[in-house]
């Protein structure tokens, strides 16, 4: 099954973490992930304050939801089952500073893929 892993961060907690270790952990995680699934599968997003909201024809300053923890990025995993996906979520350094949300992807054959 294909899962989208949504990273939600508490930006303050992340900023307070020892930066060198944190980003070294992240680099190691990305390395392990890309080795396991073959290539990069995710993106980091600009912070929520740089988001824009479109609703009907209204355009507003973002982000969509004003929560303590913010959607900050995502990656995909191809896993046999939920337990394998949970194992990847645990490995992701952000799981210590927020939460990883695991959403199964609807299998669709879109022509851009």
């Amino acid at each position: 099954m294909r899962y989208m892993m949504l990273i939600h961060h508490d930006e303050a907690a992340l900023a307070a973490a020892p930066q060198k270790d944190l980003w070294a952990d992240y680099a190691a995680f990305n390395e392990a992930l890309s080795k396991a699934i073959g290539g990069s599968s995710g993106e980091r997003l600009e912070p929520g304050k740089n988001a824009t909201i479109v609703r009907s024809n209204d355009v507003l300053d973002g982000p969509y939801a004003d929560t303590k923890e913010q959607f900050a990025g995502y990656f995909f995993v191809e896993a046999a089952d939920l337990d394998e996906a949970v194992a990847w979520a645990k490995r992701c350094p952000s799981s210590r500073y927020g939460a990883i949300e695991i959403r199964p992807v609807v299998a669709q054959q879109a022509s851009w893929k």
């Binding site: 997003l45 009907s56 024809n57 355009v59 695991i102």
Partner: protein, 117 residues
């Protein structure tokens, strides 16, 4: 610049939409996808299963907490996303307006971190 268009909508309504073919897509989305492709701006996108199939994980004090359900209970839910590559925010907003979800829900436009992950 690359932008992520996050589709936020009432998932019960989204899932009730009439599908046109075996891809499970509604006519509106099929047309929108075709337009994105014709313009050559699409870089990716996925439709997600409903939040009832979602699980959240946090690690605290080295212990994983696995919770049933999405990260946040909201009136509208993230149903899917597109990644588009366009020159600027205004064009990204134009695409967001054309997205079927903008009529019934909300589309959030988030720039992707330029250096990648």
């Amino acid at each position: 610049m690359q932008y992520m268009l996050l589709i936020q909508g009432d998932e019960t309504k989204m899932n009730a939409a009439t599908v046109v073919d075996d891809t499970g897509m509604s006519a509106e989305y099929a047309a929108y996808n075709a337009a994105l492709m014709k313009a050559g701006v699409i870089r990716g996108g996925e439709r997600l299963k409903p939040t009832s199939a979602t699980t959240s994980v946090r690690v605290r004090d080295k212990k994983a907490i696995v919770l049933s359900g999405p990260y946040a209970e909201t009136q509208e839910q993230l149903g899917g996303f597109y990644i588009i590559d366009v020159p600027d925010l205004d064009e990204a907003i134009e695409w967001a307006k054309k997205c079927p979800a903008a009529q019934s829900g909300t589309v959030e436009v988030r720039p992707i971190w330029p250096t990648g992950r």
